[in-house]
Amino acid sequence: MSEHEHQHEQHEQRASSALELRVRALEARLTEKGYIDPAALDVLIDEYQTKIGPRNGAQVVARAWAHPEFRRWLLEDATAAIASLGFTGRQGEHMVAVENTPAVHNMVVCTLCSCYPWSVLGLPPTWYKSAPYRARAVQDPRGVLKEFGVELPQTTQIRIWDSTAEVRYLVIPQRPAGTEHLSERELANLVTRDSMIGTGLPTPAA
């Protein structure tokens, strides 16, 4: 490691431990004031680290691929269709599912903050909340897609959904070719987080 890298790392560590202390102090004060129960924080962290994540959304997409009735319901009333699989609540109260086709590719952003469908995708990745993504997704979607390694035919319309209110969007990617024989569980394994944001495509069938 160069001297410069070493200094940089030391700086990062100091910043991180300063933040650690600041957060601990805030939590202690809010607990003392009777606003926070630290045990509830542990439960929330466990829930969002191990239970609520993009595998929820992958199950929704796989069901839509496998069952035309469910797909129709999902496109008509995504909140109810998704709730039928047990995925409800915070940052997923008002869901809309949008379907990719050969003619239209959907992509979701929140240019004003970091709105994201937590109930089906979990906590947003850092890039989704970052300035470059929020700035460029609405203006240069093909450039953004290229950064993610996705190139679409010029004839495909790119449709960007800027989540500026409390509606949250889930992209239903196109079902990969050659997957007719796969079970719903196997289909879900092909559904990536990015394919449900619209910055990626599902994994092709093996």
């Binding site: 957060v23 993009p54 093909r142």
Partner: protein, 211 residues
Amino acid sequence: MSYHSHADLGGQDVPGAIVQEPEGEYFHGPWEPRVMALVVAMGPTGMSNIDMNRAARETLPNYRDLSYYEIWLAALEKLALQKGVLGDAPPPPPKQVLRADSAVAAIKKGFSASRPAVKPARFSVGDRVRTVGLQPQHHTRLPAYARGKLGVVERIHGAHVFPDTNALELGESPQWLYTVAFDARELWGESARAPHSVISIDAFEPYLEPA
């Protein structure tokens, strides 16, 4: 004093790559999950609402220099001081405290923004509308890139809590919410980088005029 949001980034010239992240990588420091959980747990206490939180975040003068959880942390500290929760005097009693045994049920229930409508919707699907052009001197959810632009109503979502008044603690004042779609050339001109793309926002009725 004029209101300035540092968070309204759509269409701005922001350098830097979009740094990708593997699925399941949610945090980059042990303090980050704690901040996430604190913000979620403060919801039921009634100290602030989601629109006050967003206003507190977007007006942080150093917004663009902070990581996202640093933004959440700084805004939480700011609001807790403003609302007298952190101070020398005893704070107002919390409306409700999130407990370990009810935390999962609370997030599964969520916080619906739907409210009964107080008047009929002004617009229907297919209507041509123009967004208002002025930047109000308070929190709002009409992005700068979509102001004074011609679009088409594509979906109607019912009446929702109106962020502009809710952020100011002036009440929820429910307003009809619409998805309004714009042609890329309407937003970015004939030199639009993706001229055949369509961009939509979710716009509250007061943001729209008939066109």
